[in-house]
């Protein structure tokens, strides 16, 4: 698994000590048993955009948090403009000209933009003089970098894309020379991504250094000058972007030929078990997050849903599983039509034979504090076989959990062990086991292999295919295009809350899905918005 392919360094050696904006040398960091960063050495050139790619959990964010002073490395050096520095906290990082745009914005929503910019950079005990000065300086920055932000608006009232610009502006106002962006496009619409990239180019033109953390290779190819690949905490490859390809990056990221092919027979679709017809979801803010969703899933097929995170897939899963009410349209389960505002909820869904493996395992599917056996009956505690009259029969529950653990290879096989002490893969297998055990007619699965180790991935995939072959209907949502393509018999693509296209497994190629995910017509090219791996 560790066939490290370190290619020649992408840059020529420095002419002077000051050639690198930032150097991380031999950074090592452990969190208990997790080795988050292994002897990482990275060098960022000034006036460049440096991409940092890797799968979830590859150690990208930890590394950058060390640079920003959130964590302290166990060993290793950090050099800024050739000088070794010690970064004990964010304050030190800011003082050294390092700025960070976090994935979850660090903004005070009840403050105006200007107040947010001022925070920590007030320049004196009173605000009045600082406000006037800040306004002048920020307007200057806005002109220089083409960042348009209404300074007196409340942050809470601004769209996400503008909030992100506030974050960038904040970093610049604090004097950032090196700007780290953590998965900045995860929350952006394609046009907003375009705007962001224009801003990053301006930053580079003005001599700033940009570090872009992402797992979207298309973005790396479109905007960066250099790229480093992290896998399992270590740098496994470095390239000059112009000299590499998406395929090469993808291979380096996963450490194997990106081959997730699952052996499966051709599908034998039966009757439609699950259907949605014109379903709309309106969230608390009044925004329609799922628009006119229409789909069918037949017995004996896996329908995959592809899309950039946050384009309505989560809402789709939540509506179908009864977690979220829908505003209009109709959902049909095994021939029974459900109207909006009805009594369909997760309990009702289970009664109707709909099982749900949710996207966010720790938040929804297990209770970390419970022993595994109790997490293993979550959602089924009302089931007849588990109780004697009013009493939950723990002996039976424990025995049943032990049996599930055996069948789904959950390790260690200890029903009394706290759920949180199992690894992500084993937790997921436990959840899968619980949901499949009831032999549901319909299985809704979100991100089945997120944070799951390779061995468990293959196992989970095999189970899903086996369930399909038993004539069940499976709807699969995944951010991993490979997974979608490997498992699905049909593929739906979502963008901006809508299902924008459908492809059969045979027609599906990465390119076609990618451009549909980006919301561009298949003929349009050159767009960078959207995800491909």
């Amino acid at each position: 698994m560790h066939a490290v392919t370190v290619t020649p360094a992408p840059h020529s050696p420095p002419k002077s000590a000051h050639q690198w904006a930032v150097e991380l040398v031999g950074i090592d960091k452990r969190f208990g048993p997790v080795h988050a960063n292994k002897d990482v050495t990275l060098r960022f050139a000034p006036a460049s955009i440096h991409g940092l790619v890797g799968e979830n959990g590859a150690g990208k964010s930890t590394l950058m948090s060390i640079l920003y002073g959130f964590y302290h490395a166990d060993s290793g050096q950090i050099l800024v403009r050739g000088r070794e520095v010690e970064i004990k906290g964010s304050q030190d990082a800011i003082g050294l000209g390092i700025g960070m745009v976090h994935q979850h914005f660090m903004l005070v929503e009840t403050f105006t933009v200007l107040e947010n910019l001022l925070l920590g950079h007030e320049g004196g005990p009173l605000l009045a003089p600082a406000v006037a000065r800040a306004r002048r300086e920020v307007e200057e920055l806005e002109r220089t970098f083409g960042l348009e932000v209404p300074l007196d608006a409340l942050v809470a009232d601004l769209p996400v894309g503008v909030q992100q610009r506030v974050e960038i502006l904040k970093a610049l106002y604090r004097g950032a020379d090196v700007l780290i962006l953590d998965e900045p496009t995860a929350v952006l619409s394609p046009p907003e991504v375009e705007q962001l990239f224009r801003i990053l180019e301006r930053l580079r033109a003005e001599g700033r250094t940009v570090v872009l953390i992402t797992h979207k290779l298309k973005e790396i190819m479109a905007i960066t000058d250099h790229v480093s690949v992290l896998r399992r905490g270590a740098v496994v490859a470095e390239f000059a972007t112009a000299a590499t390809s998406r395929q090469e990056l993808a291979d380096a990221m996963v450490g194997r030929k990106a081959n997730l092919d699952v052996e499966k027979a051709p599908p034998q679709p039966g009757p439609v078990l699950l259907a949605a017809d014109g379903v709309n979801v309106v969230d608390a803010r009044g925004v329609t997050t799922l628009k006119n969703a229409c789909l069918t899933v037949r017995a004996g097929e896996i329908v995959g849903v592809a899309g950039v995170a946050g384009n309505g897939q989560s809402e789709l899963l939540e509506v179908l599983s009864g977690m979220r009410p829908f505003a209009s349209g109709r959902v049909t389960i095994k021939g029974t039509a459900l109207e909006p505002g009805g009594t369909y909820d997760p309990a009702d869904a289970r009664r109707r034979g709909v099982a749900h493996v949710p996207e966010d395992r720790l938040k929804l599917a297990v209770v970390k504090e419970f022993p595994a056996a109790q997490s293993a009956i979550l959602g089924y505690h009302e089931e007849k076989g588990l109780a004697r009259k009013w009493r939950l029969d723990w002996k039976r529950v424990t025995a049943k959990t032990a049996e599930l653990m055996e069948r789904f290879d959950v390790r260690p096989r200890d029903p009394a062990l706290r759920t949180s002490l199992f690894s992500g893969g084993n937790q997921q297998k436990l959840v899968m086991a619980r949901e499949m055990e009831r032999d549901p007619d319909i299985l809704l699965v979100g991100q089945p292999t997120r944070g799951v180790d390779i061995g468990a991935i293959a196992f989970i995939h095999k189970q899903l295919v086996a369930l399909r072959d038993r004539g069940k209907a499976i709807l699969l949502v995944s951010a991993e295009l490979d997974e979608i393509m490997a498992l699905s018999d049909r593929i739906l693509v979502m963008c901006d809350g809508e299902i924008v296209g459908e492809l059969s497994a045979a027609e599906a190629t990465e390119g076609r899905i990618g451009s549909m995910m980006a919301g561009v017509a298949e003929t349009a090219t050159g767009s960078v918005s959207g995800e491909e791996q």
Binding site: I94, H104, L107, F111, N116, L119, E122, L127
Partner: protein, 323 residues
Amino acid sequence: MESYFWLLSLLDSTLRLAAPLLLAALAGFYSERAGVVDIGLEGKMLMAAFAAATTAAFTGSALAGLLAAIGASLAMALLHGFACITHRGNQVVSGVALNIVAMGLTAVLGNAWFEMGGRTPNLPAAARFGEVTLPLAETLRNVPVLGSLYYELISGHNVLVYLALVLVPVTGWIAYRTRFGLRLRAVGENPAAVDTAGISVPALRYQAVLIAGLLCGIAGAYLSTAQGAGFQNNMTAGKGYLALAALILGKWKPVPTLAACLLFAAADALQTRLQGVVMPGIGEVPVQLIEALPYLLTVLLLAGFVGKAIPPKASGRPYVKER
């Protein structure tokens, strides 16, 4: 004219009764706007009232009493900070604990030291905060309406009443016009934003909690050495909780909090005046209803039946850096 003086005297008592509430509510303002829930206003006040009365009894100095009160209250605040900020304990539980400790400790120490069933000795005038007659009050006393208003209502309070009132605009100014205020409000809404701006979240919260201690200290001293002339068992009698209610009713803003304190104090003043009064058509006024009014109002407000109070977003949550 008689009803005018009745009104003046009602408003006068309102001011006196409002002052300790206001001081405690402002204390709560600093703590809660920084994201630290303060159920312990009551206990800090009680401890401070006891410290003030005891010190004033021994030294004969109201000022020494005030300083002791502040010291005792700060110690409690520090303990609250230690539990909630340093050890990320449950803020409500810590507040409850401090209230109960204060209730027990003041009674035990008072009994042991003075052997008067928990009371402290009656303080002579010199050991209390006396009434301040404002300039010209005597001269203007006989000017109809405005003169008597000035003499009866505005003049003739002790210095802590004026201090409490002045602290309202001062607090507003600090919260909205200074660097400290900006950071204070920020840390109560999104501590991560403060942390990533290179500012220490614990240091900021400790400052806020200590200011709350300072103000509760003054409030406590007011009870035992300005309004009263000595300490009695459990003399706060829920004023700390009432202040908390005023802060909520004031939606965590200084001026509306002042208004809520005045409202509660007026209800209190009215209630003593209406004891046993038979109103035409209503019969005897149920004073208990007036007594319960502040709490009822707060419940209704929090439930969104009367307006809506939204607490600082991060309040009650210990700050832990995200992994």
